[in-house]
Symmetry: C2
Subunit: 212 residues, 2 copies
């Protein structure tokens, strides 16, 4: 299966490398291929392309761009290249205007995931992984042997099911189905707590487990 | 020790009853004493007073009013009645303008806890318990035998320490010190995830445990 990963930062790199490790045919999409040349030298199985090439390549596409620039990046990727496909949105609409800790650019009665879904109505947006740091996204067993939860939100039940299967292949054992895409408002807002947990614990190798 | 609990809803009732059970001299403060007459008949150790009487009574005071009305309620309680005291703020700035699920009236670069602290600079505001439902606040062992976390945020380290002691008497074993009062932005924003967890699980008898 061909995977496209939009973005060139830590999250895009981590997801691309992990997908390649699992045997997928991966292209990572960036505006600036030069930036990824060094990284690619140790990740030679991952191809580098433009946003549009990467979206066209992927049968499933990841949005791992900066949340503040995601809509613009996805527009460059192209509606036709994303149409009918699953878009796994792992981004967060972090607003660093006032420095650290960040606020969010969208909040409460809307979410970045829903903005993306409205902008690309023929794409099946699945929000997940945005509540953990890049390393935990793809190697969840490195935190508490996987004894913690990842959340998933989507309107398309079949798309959600496919992404859950992929998450299991990353090592996720506890996948919490929050419901439709509007529930991404909850996981995006949680980032404001996550940055404080990170601040208090001095590590991003953390996550939450839902207890009842 | 004398305790004042501002508010007349489920949270105020739960905290008042629990404090009375633990032997404190408790007054619950409301604008409408009639509303609490029925409740008081089975909680006779709890006195009923106005906001001002309750704040004057308490050596430690709880803000368990609706977040959207908290600043107004605290103003009625009176600056002089709150001065020099610990105010345990358990409220959330929930905005039900668009129905359920709620948004928040303050968010991101500010929090209700900080608004209260700015409005009452001589009061020691401690934010805690706002991430769980009323019953879990005061009987934490009823969820997963207490194997989950409550968060605490405050600028005054000694006040925070006193409130942590009180939380332990409620049964809390895992108290997560997030830092200064600005970290309440994180726990207040988390409510947007909490309402979705509640929606997915059909119970409020839940909480998160921080895993690393």
């Amino acid at each position: 299966m061909r995977m496209g990963v939009l973005g060139s930062g830590m999250v895009a790199q981590a997801i691309s490398a992990r997908l390649a490790e699992l045997g997928y045919e991966v292209m990572i999409g960036t505006r600036d291929a030069e930036k990824l040349k060094g990284w690619q030298s140790s990740n030679q199985r991952v191809m580098i392309g433009s946003f549009a090439e990467t979206a066209a390549h992927g049968e499933m596409v990841f949005n791992a761009t900066d949340g503040a620039a995601s809509l613009q990046a996805l527009t460059m990727a192209g509606t036709e290249n994303l149409s009918g496909k699953i878009l796994v949105d792992v981004s967060n609409p972090l607003d660093f205007t006032d420095g650290f800790p960040p606020s969010l650019t969208v909040f409460g009665t809307d979410s970045l995931a829903e903005q993306i879904q409205r902008a690309f109505p023929l794409t099946k947006v699945v929000k997940t992984l945005n509540t953990v740091t890049a390393r935990v996204m793809v190697y969840p067993l490195e935190v508490a042997n996987g004894d913690h939860h990842v959340f998933i939100s989507a309107n398309d039940v079949e798309a959600k099911s496919q992404v859950m299967e992929l998450l299991r292949s990353f090592g996720w054992v506890n996948i919490f189905d929050l419901g439709d895409l509007s529930t991404a408002r909850g996981t995006e807002a949680y980032l404001l707590l996550w940055v404080r947990l990170y601040g208090a614990m001095n590590t991003g190798m953390i996550n939450v487990k839902i207890m009842k």
